[in-house]
Each structure stands twice: as structure tokens, then as C-alpha cells.
Amino acid sequence: MSRRPPSKLHLDPVVVRKARSLARKAGRPIVRLATTHTTVSVERSVLRLAGLPGADPDGEPWVNHLVDAVRDQVGLEHGVAAPVWDALLSGDHADLTALAQKAASGSADFRLPTGRDADRARRAARKAVGRGIAQIDRRREEREKLIGRLGDPPKPWIYLIVATGDIYEDIPQAQAAAREGADVVAVIRSTGQSLIDFVPEGATREGFAGTYATQENFRLMRAALDEVSLELGRYVRLTNYASGLCMPEIATLAGLERLDMMLNDSMYGILFRDINPIRTFVDQRFSRQIHGRAGIIINTGEDNYLTTADAVEAAHTVTVSQLMNEFFAKEAGLPDSQIGLGHAFEINPEVPDSFRLELAHALLARELFPDAPLKWMPPTKHMTGDVFRGYLLNGFFNLVGGLTQQSILLVGMLTEAVHTPWLSDRDLALQNVRYVFNAAGDMAEDFHPAPDGLVVQRAHQVLGEAVDLLERIVDDGMLNAIGDGTFGLMKRPADAGRGLDGVVSHGGSYYNPASEILAEGLAAGDASAPASSGAR
């Protein structure tokens, strides 16, 4: 973020510092959990980085077979790397895939190597995984080169959603969206993918209200957008969703296929998909380390709270979640420029001064996180079948985006309450954005909330409430707060939820070459400027 606008809210730096330090305090125990546990998906990611794609004829990925076999035979508390490369080095397996196939048919044996064998296995594992990370680094360089060559669009980036369920219908729609002005295309996932504990394979044509996230779909779509980027002379970004039971693996695939942004929230899976909290915290940390390395901007999901809770009453929970997401992101190695914190225009339009309250909330986020590429999301909850009214609300949403200088603008659809977007809905939506930004895009210059006025007071109030809530969270513990329904009114106890059985606490000899390399990369420099290859 180059331009940092002069402050309009005059937030008290003491309060801001306090908020951040409370977030740190609340988050530290969670980080401890995350660094002392692994999950099946983290381990599968290690194998994916080492080059194990594909699935059996029933669609079950080889990485799942292999991790399951290791788990059955030696447990996962040591990580898959040592047992797997031990088997590879000692057995007569042509490669990882061959080993996985055998594991699938129950004909591969694993043990936990020790001593020299262990060292050997670890070295081999690290080398193999290093190749995957090097590929991620190359993808990142590719992106940087393309952006250098084609140019980066000015902020806010126009973010459009494609959701046909069929990758071959998505592609022309995404290209059309780019031609009409989208800077970012997000392919929504099929409902339910976040709850399946494997990543589907190949190009897919059958999703409900979205298209499956697969490595091949990623590849196809990125290639299509590269084509259109060249045509347009502007780098068009691709976004997908990491959240869910396979967060680490999808993050990995995104890095390997040069996706540019990923939905990745530290708590979304817990709250909105009833995924076990510990599973989520472990997975999100690993996936964010990968995103950091890959130069992928994460998008957090604070918008979701406001669809289940009231946007005025719960405004401060958005701020708290943003602070937590920021803390976890930085801890995982993401620089500010990759932390796309989310927030949304979800106040009931009937509320008096609703527009000015939106301005207050949006400006608070902008000034609290001046260097983050904030993602500003459109009205959904209070959209109705009155598409004319919907179009108007979207215009005012766009205006808040401009007045408060948001970075990523998710384009709202007039038919939000009716159906997943039609071609014409998107076209109308882009026309709306164009009008507002062409006509009033620089109006931040004229927007100076009165120092004692409603906007400033509201922003200060929300920040104050956020600090109070953080204090309570620090006292109770983050996991208890989540269990109590603090966020989005969802109560999620730490010992329940999906995917808990995929969580394993580290044994004494836990080894994960990916984590090792990623941590070294961070130690060596700043994640935004990785060494030319992560594998050394």
C-alpha cells in the first residue's frame, strides 16, 4: 500500500496498541496449540509438496491413502515424512505414487526410522518437499514478472464471483468478467466441499452453487486468466477458498498453481462449518505459512458474522476478529501487504444513519490496518427480491468503498436474494462500480467526518467495545470465547466439531520438512522477499 491517507478518525494510538497487545495475548495459547499438533491435511500437504498428485479410480487421492496407511501403522505424531521416505529409501518403490498405490492396497509397510535411518529419511523428504516449495517460489516470481510486465490495476481491485459449478462454463464467464473490468475473479466452491476430508481431482463439471476446488481446475482457470491478462494488458488475479477440512492442501495447490488470493480465515471453519477449533487453528497456521511463501493475499471472512449477527450490535466482533486474524497471519509470516482483512456493508438499511455507520465501520478498519489490502464486501443479508433497491444499495456500498479507500471491492449483485449471479447481473454490477468510481472515486478528498460527529464517535465506540471484548477473551481464553458464541452467535466447543479425529499431538520426534523450510525462509528474510529457492 503506497498511499496512506491522513487520519480522519484520530484514533488514540494507546488504545490501538492496547488492542493489538490484547490480540497477541489472546492468540498466543492458540499458536502454542498449532505448533504442537499436526493434522491429516497438514501431512497430506507435505506429500503434495513432495509431488504426489492423483487419486485412485474412485477419486480418493493418493495422499489420503498414504497418510491413512502411515497413521494406521505408526501413527501421525511423528509426521508422515520420516516413515514415508524411510519406506521409499528402504523399499523397492519406484516413486511416491507407487508407494501410495501399494499403501492403498495394504501392501506397504511403514516404521518410524531412528538414528541414521531417520536422518537419511528426513534429508530425502526435505529434498523432495523442497522441490515443491521451489515450484511455489517460481510461481511467485512468475506472478511478479507478469505484474511487472502487464501492470497492476489501481486499488480498489474489482472482485467478481463466478459460480456455475462447471469449470468449462466458469472459464468463459471469468474471461468475460475480466474483459468487463474485474481485477480479481473468485471461483466459488461447491457447497459442501469444505466438509470433505480430501481434495477432489481433475477438471470438474458438477457442483452445487459453485465449482470444486481442484488442482486441475486451478490450473485451467489460471491459464485462462493469463490469456486474458495478456489480452487486456493488466494482471487479473484468481481467488479460491482455502477454508475447510483441507485448508493446508488447498493452500498448497494454490501456491503450486499461482493463485493470487485465497479465502483463509482463522475461525470461519469453526464458526460456519462446525469444524473442530483445534483442527482449524493447526490447519490455518500451516496454510498461512504456505500463502506467505507463495505471495498469496489471504482474505478473511468477517463478513460472515454479520449474516448471522446484527451488523451494528456485532460491529466490534468484526474488529476483534480482524485483530486476531492479523495476529495469526503475522505470526505465520504474512506481511501486511498479504493480509486482506474482511468486512462488509451489512447494516439494516432501515436503521437511521445506516450509511454513515457503514462509513464509520469501514473507516475504522481502514485506519486500524492502514497497510492491509482490506476486502470490502457488499450487502447480502438485507438484500431482497426488490432488485431495484438492491442495485441502489450496491451503489452506496461502492461509494463507501471509495470514500474509505478500501483495497479490494467485492462486487455486489442486485439479485443477491434471488439466485447465483447471471451474466447480466454481473454486467449491471460492474456498470454500477464504474459509475461510482468514475463519478466519485476520489471523493475521499471531500470526506472529513466532523471530529465530534456521529461517524467519528461511532468508530471510537466500536474500537472501545472491541478492546473490552478482547479483555474478556484474554481472561476466559480464546477457545472458551468461541465456545460461548462470541463470534457470529455461533457456539463451538473445543472438543466437538468435524475433523477432530484428524488432529494429532506432536510426538517427541515430529518432523515436517515443509514447516522447517518455511520457518527458515521466514528467519532468513521477510516472507515478501524469499530466497530464490526455499530448498537448500
Binding site: G165, T191, G192, L195, A209, R273, H419, W422, L423, D427
Partner: protein, 263 residues
């Protein structure tokens, strides 16, 4: 039928009987004169005459978006309109509690869920949670109801198993995602599973709800009642009493009727 209230009406633009309507759509043709002609043809097939294409916008090289205004000659016969009339009396929470107590002599057990991959819980929560909806408290707040809200993305076999385990009198299912008719498929699967798992006379009452259902589709979906957008908890509670705690004295009330509207 009185002379005062017309039973046949037409759309109204700015004068009685003018028949004016607005239409918009996309045609997969490049924007040119032929495209406008094509749009007019469609408008005419929809019964608009005269029709005026007031807006035609190219969306890329292959599609054109149109806005058309015009007059339709169709008559709307209000007597022929079928509406699902509420077949039960709307009761207050107190009345609901009293009637369950006096007629069922035990708490009524309700199991609710979003099934399939649908994760939209706001609708079912509106009906079930204490917090409720539109100022009314949800079923959890009713003294004589035991509510189990299983949450989102519950698989049908799990739902059947839990319903059995909990002794459900009624199973409430919400479906919001309708792309590719997901809601129809999921509900059909659900009702079949219940029919298979239970003898006909012990099967719990099956209720579905969501913003895009058609209330008249109960038979097609194999459920007992469908609730649509704007449903309030009291309506659902009253229906449950009506179905599960019938007044013992008068003859059993007739099943829901489809009635012609009267004015």
C-alpha cells in the same frame, strides 16, 4: 361476486386496464438491429403488443441485455387463483403449551436440521432458537417443546438416526440453496428415507421450509407441510399442535385444503 370488486384485472402502469409491464433478459446474440428484433419477437411471444425495446446493451461480443416495456393483453382471473389457506388456527405460545399439555400429556419432541450440503442455518434458527424471528420467540422458548437443533449440513442417514434416537414427533428441515434443484433432491431423499425407516403410523411429521419452496408441492416432495419465506415460529408451533395434538372432541379436522380465494 359483487359488481364492485372486479374479478378480472390487468397489469396497471398508470391507468386502469393499460396492461403495462416491464421485462428484462439476455439473448445469446451480438448486439445489433437483428438482436433488437429478436428481443421484440420474444416480447411478443410473452404476449406484449406493442412492445418497445428501451435498452439494448452488448455484454461482450456474444450476448445482449435488453429492457423492454409494453402492454400485455393477458387477463388475470382472480377467481382462478389458488392459494394455500392456513388450515389451522394461529395460537399464542401459551395456548400452544396448554394444548400440548392437555392433549399430548408430554413434551412434543422436535428435531431440526439443514440437510445435504446446505449450511444456511439462519432460517431454521429463526424458527427454533430462543431468539426467534420478527419479534417472536422460537420453539425452544415454548415450555412443552423439546427442541434438538442439529445444525447444518446434516446427512440424511444421520438425521433419521438422530430422529429415532430422540423420539422425534416432528422433523423440521431447512433448504435454502436451490441451484440445480438441490433442495428438491435433498428433500425427496429425506422423505423417502423416513418412509423406509419408519412404519407409516409412527413416522414423525415431516416439515420443510425455505425461501424458494412452492407451498403446494407437499405431495411431490413427500412431506406433510411446506413453509415459505416470512414464516414465523408461532405458525410452525400452531401447525404442530394442529397436526400432533388434535382436539379430541370434534371429528378429526380435514387435511389441508386447497381453496379458491374468495373476497
Amino acid at each position: 361476486m359483487s359488481a364492485k370488486k372486479p374479478h378480472v384485472v390487468r397489469p396497471y402502469g398508470d391507468a386502469t386496464g393499460d396492461g403495462m409491464v416491464q421485462v428484462s433478459f439476455t439473448l445469446p446474440v451480438p448486439q445489433d438491429k437483428r438482436a433488437e428484433g429478436a428481443a421484440l419477437q420474444l416480447a411478443q411471444k410473452m404476449g406484449m403488443d406493442p412492445a418497445l425495446v428501451v435498452h439494448a446493451k452488448a455484454m461482450g461480443p456474444d450476448f445482449t441485455f435488453f429492457v423492454v416495456y409494453g402492454r400485455v393483453s393477458h387477463l388475470v382471473d382472480l377467481d382462478a387463483v389458488t392459494v394455500v389457506e392456513r388450515e389451522f388456527t394461529l395460537l399464542s405460545p401459551k395456548e400452544v403449551t396448554a394444548q400440548i399439555k392437555s392433549r399430548l400429556h408430554r413434551p412434543l419432541v422436535v428435531v431440526g436440521a439443514c440437510i445435504g450440503t446446505d449450511a444456511h442455518t439462519v432460517g431454521i434458527d429463526a424458527i427454533l432458537n430462543i431468539k426467534g424471528w420478527a419479534g417472536e420467540k422460537g420453539l425452544e422458548a415454548y415450555g412443552e417443546m423439546t427442541v434438538h437443533n442439529l445444525g447444518a449440513q446434516v446427512a440424511v442417514p444421520d438425521l433419521v438416526a438422530r430422529a429415532r434416537e430422540l423420539g422425534a414427533d416432528a422433523v423440521l428441515v431447512s433448504q435454502v440453496v436451490t441451484q440445480r434443484d438441490a433442495h428438491v433432491q435433498n428433500v425427496t431423499e429425506m422423505s423417502a428415507a423416513f418412509r423406509e425407516a419408519y412404519p407409516a403410523d409412527t413416522r414423525p411429521v415431516l416439515i420443510v421450509g425455505g425461501p424458494r419452496f412452492d407451498e403446494t408441492w407437499t405431495d411431490r416432495l413427500g412431506v406433510d407441510r411446506i413453509f415459505v419465506k416470512g414464516t414465523t415460529p408461532a405458525e410452525v408451533a400452531s401447525y404442530l399442535v394442529h397436526r400432533l395434538c388434535p382436539d379430541p372432541s370434534p371429528p378429526k379436522p380435514a387435511r389441508r385444503t386447497r381453496k379458491k380465494a374468495t373476497t
